[in-house]
């Protein structure tokens, strides 16, 4: 491997990003344990979301008041919570709702944002004006506040949380897609395609959309992390799933009252949220960097 690597390293990077990515990865990874750890952690999260039973055997809902507030021990690795439930089991079972929220809310935000962005970027000036002023109004609200308003309006529940957090991220994506579309629209290949007489629909579908959306897809990866935080914040504020369902934000909210005598109620969910967001962001940034063709 080593000779290939060194050869690759002296090659000019321009136009060889693909090759570089393929050949240099092992050495890059060895240099960047953080990225490897992040990837491993995300893999673990995906496993926890799909098959929580493979990771923990305890029932996350089994409560027993007499077992409450036990510090970490060999029986309960991360201790027990205010109802005597195993915290590790609850953390693992809380992954699925968190990831589902993170992915689907981001997808929703991206989808609506792209539609609005394309509409504004390619549509007539009037449509652009109307859509963008609407987006400006929504941008005036902080994301979380917007999500809170939506939840208060539509009521609590998993689906409503997804909708709320998703819609709250629409303005940002709409703006990004519009800006990107305006850049791509004037690119040489688009002009060429138009000159060649391709129908407008096909130009948009084949040339504008893929090139406009690629950087945004990568930003959306990073956005998944902040969406998970927003979901946890809503759950912390009491807008999440009703008890006894496990949720990281909810676990934090209850645990903070016992911080002085049972720190493990807060420490583990806080750590889980932090690591999740850091890992996803690390991977997203790496993708971003590669897309921009930057090397280490």
């Amino acid at each position: 491997m080593a000779p290939i690597n060194s050869t690759a390293a002296v090659l000019p990077a321009n136009g060889l990003i693909q090759a570089q990515a393929r050949f240099v990865r092992p050495r890059q990874l060895a240099l960047r344990p953080g990225l490897v750890l992040a990837a491993l952690f995300v893999a673990l999260l995906v496993l926890a979301a799909l098959q929580p039973g493979w990771l923990v055997s305890a029932d996350p809902l089994e409560a027993s008041a007499r077992q409450a507030f036990q510090p970490p021990s060999s029986l309960h690795w991360l201790g027990t919570d205010e109802n005597g439930r195993d915290i590790l089991a609850r953390l693992v079972h809380a992954v699925r709702p968190s990831l589902v929220l993170g992915l689907s809310a981001t997808a929703l935000g991206l989808l609506l944002g792209t539609v609005l962005g394309l509409l504004a970027g390619l549509g007539p000036r009037l449509v652009d004006g109307v859509v963008m002023r609407l987006v400006d109004v929504l941008l005036a609200f902080p994301d979380l506040l917007l999500a809170l308003v939506i939840i208060t309006f539509f009521g609590q529940g998993a689906l409503n949380t997804i909708i709320a957090v998703g819609i709250a991220s629409v303005p940002r994506y709409a703006r990004l897609v519009r800006a990107q579309t305006l850049v791509v629209r004037n690119a040489g290949y688009v002009e060429a395609a138009t000159t060649l007489g391709l129908p407008r629909r096909q130009v948009i579908w084949r040339h504008v959309l893929p090139n406009a959306i690629k950087p945004i897809l990568i930003l959306a990866t990073i956005g998944i992390g902040s969406t998970i935080v927003a979901g946890a914040a809503l759950s912390f504020l009491g807008f999440g799933a009703p008890p006894p369902e496990p949720e990281w934000g909810g676990m934090l909210a209850i645990g903070r009252n016992y911080l002085a005598n049972a720190w493990w109620l807060v420490a583990w969910p806080a750590l889980a949220i932090t690591l999740t967001v850091v890992s996803i962001t690390a991977i997203g940034r790496e993708l971003l960097r590669r897309n921009e063709g930057k090397r280490l």
Binding site: A65, Q70, E82, I254, R256, L259, W263
Partner: protein
């Protein structure tokens, strides 16, 4: 540690684990109350007489900084039932009467009183030296105006109005003599007049500016309100010339403190840490989870008192709705709830678990029935089997005629009834095959559904009053809400025998007879189970040792700040 620190992430983990290893393991539940004041004897609780009067004069001066968990949202004590009124009312106002250490009635703003033979006319002889802080005199007219204000529909009183419901009208005999006429004999009348919710407000304010009472009430009490900011706090200053503290307290003259600053701090951690750091002197809502740390701290003092009348409830049944229209299901539920477990997860060893319907320090409390509803899962299962719920479905829940044994529990998140209680009850009842869904709603919705009796199970609540007549307020069929009356019998419980004894108890003042009647009432409640008691209603205080001269209110067992003083060198 330095080596680990380089590793970043794992260091946090390692440090936390190390912290955990240093901490003593929490004691197991069921070890009783950490250190409640008073002595338990055969199940009844009594307090030392010294807790209720000033032993020696204190030193005047200083500012006391007090924290509490919640705001009453209005200072018109007639218009609310909030628990904070118990001690807040005593800061600003005075009452007509006071109880003594044994619960007998003693004078306060009324020097003496007579009751007619038919029990329907009460004549009060009032003190002639009392004034409100706006200069108004306290006299027979002031008393009449106050009683009218309590029951005025515009006041929307959920408590004071119900307590004086039998009051028909009053006659001003002379300036300092007042005659109250009742519709029927009502023996708790004098007791309720000693409660903080029935305090005396300036008659001029009631008549001329009733809207201002909520924000800036005018009383005759030992302190005067300087400012009040909703959900933040209030400042009080000493009332100059105050000289009418109840004789039972043995306090002479003005309050010792110059100022009293009250701040509203909902987060338990902050109430504890400000007290610990000396940024506050006193908290009336000491967090149970920090009780051990407070007791271990040489600078702090912790006090635990019990409120009279009805203890804290884990659940109240709506007896008109499935499945709790069946007393057997109610009994099984009561026996399946692990009270010691619940007392542990909320009280951390500070709460006394409770299985019967009157607090252990209430007059005429009879401990004979305290174990009738004792925790016994096997027995609870047997009761349900016998009641026809012997089949179980795939998830382990009981079924009868194709219907699952299931109910919704209505509750809201509060420090006294956190959702962990609801979850623990859910887990306990699953063991007997009863499915519980928790409906966690905002307080306003819960209150509305509570008064409309629109629930199967409702969580939490206690009813404190200074007489066993609290049972009437909660479980008499007359206490069911109607269009005209806000009643506290939210579960719509009716039982002819219970109605009979509770009504009879209102007619008599004979202690022997009362003792018999309330014994029957307690027995009847243990058999008919309109609700499930869980633990005593505790008053938990913590204060710095510089705070001296603290005595307790004989009615509410809450602190009385009139005699409190600060000793800067105190330990």
């Amino acid at each position: 540690m330095r080596v680990i620190a380089r590793l970043g992430g794992p260091a946090v983990l390692g440090a936390l684990l190390a912290l955990g290893a240093c901490k003593p393991v929490e004691p197991a539940p069921g070890q009783g109350s950490g250190g409640i004041d008073g002595t338990l004897h055969n199940g009844t609780l009594s307090y030392a007489a010294q807790d209720y009067y000033e032993a020696a004069p204190g030193k005047p001066g200083g500012t006391l900084r007090v924290s509490t968990a919640s705001d009453t949202t209005t200072l018109d004590v007639h218009s609310i039932s909030h628990g904070n009124v118990q001690w807040l009312g005593r800061i600003l106002f005075d009452c007509l009467l006071y109880q003594d250490e044994q619960g007998n009635i003693s004078p306060w703003l009324a020097k003496s009183w007579e009751i007619s033979d038919d029990g329907k006319t009460y004549t009060f002889h009032l003190r002639d030296d009392v004034t409100f802080s706006d200069g108004e005199k306290f006299n027979a007219r002031a008393l009449q105006v106050n009683l009218e204000h309590m029951r005025d529909p515009a006041t929307k009183s959920p408590l004071a109005a119900a307590y004086i419901a039998p009051y028909v009208d009053g006659r001003i005999v002379d300036e300092y003599t007042f005659e109250a006429h009742l519709r029927e004999p009502y023996s708790p009348f004098l007791d309720v007049l000693a409660q903080s919710w029935l305090s005396m407000i300036s008659p001029r304010q009631i008549l001329e500016a009733p809207k201002t009472i909520a924000e800036h009430p005018i009383g005759s009490g030992p302190f005067v309100l300087e400012s009040y900011t909703r959900d933040q706090g209030a400042n009080f200053v000493k009332r100059k010339g105050y000289n009418w503290a109840p004789a039972v307290t043995r306090h002479q003259g003005e309050a010792y403190l110059d100022r009293l600053e009250l701040s509203i701090v909902p987060e338990p951690m902050i109430r504890f840490s400000t007290l610990e750091a000396g940024q506050s002197d006193f908290t009336v809502d000491a967090p149970t989870q920090n009780a051990r740390a407070i007791r271990a701290n040489p600078d702090l003092q912790m006090r635990s008192r019990i409120r009279k009348a009805n203890p804290f409830r884990s659940l109240t049944f709506n007896v008109e709705r499935f499945p709790f229209d069946d007393v057997q299901v109610r009994r099984a539920v009561a026996k399946a709830i692990d009270r010691d477990g619940l007392a542990w997860i909320t009280g951390f060893g500070e709460y006394l678990a409770k299985g019967d319907f009157l607090a252990a320090n209430t007059r005429y409390y009879d401990p004979a029935f305290k174990d009738v509803l004792a925790y016994d899962v096997a027995e609870a299962n047997r009761i349900l089997d016998q009641a026809g719920w012997s089949e179980r479905d795939g998830q382990g829940y009981r079924v009868k005629h194709g219907q699952r044994l299931a109910a919704h529990l209505l509750t809201y998140e509060t420090a006294a009834y956190p959702s962990s209680i609801a979850v623990a009850i859910q887990a306990d009842l699953k063991k007997i095959g009863l499915q519980i869904d928790i409906d966690l709603l905002p307080l306003a919705q819960v209150t509305q559904r509570r008064y409309a009796s629109d629930f199967q199970l409702i969580g939490g609540g206690y009813w404190h009053t200074n007489t066993p007549d609290g049972l009437y307020i909660l479980y008499h069929s007359q206490a069911i809400s109607t269009a005209k009356l806000i009643g506290q019998n939210a579960g719509r419980f009716r039982d002819a025998e219970l109605d009979r004894v509770l009504s009879a108890a209102r007619q008599t003042t004979d202690p022997v007879e009362l003792s018999d009647l309330y014994r029957i009432a307690q027995q009847r409640l243990a058999q008919t189970i309109p609700a499930v008691p869980v633990f005593e209603s505790h008053v938990l205080l913590a204060y710095r040792k510089q705070v001296k001269g603290l005595i307790f209110d004989t009615s509410h067992n809450t602190p009385l700040f009139t005699s409190v003083w600060l000793d800067p060198e105190g330990k």
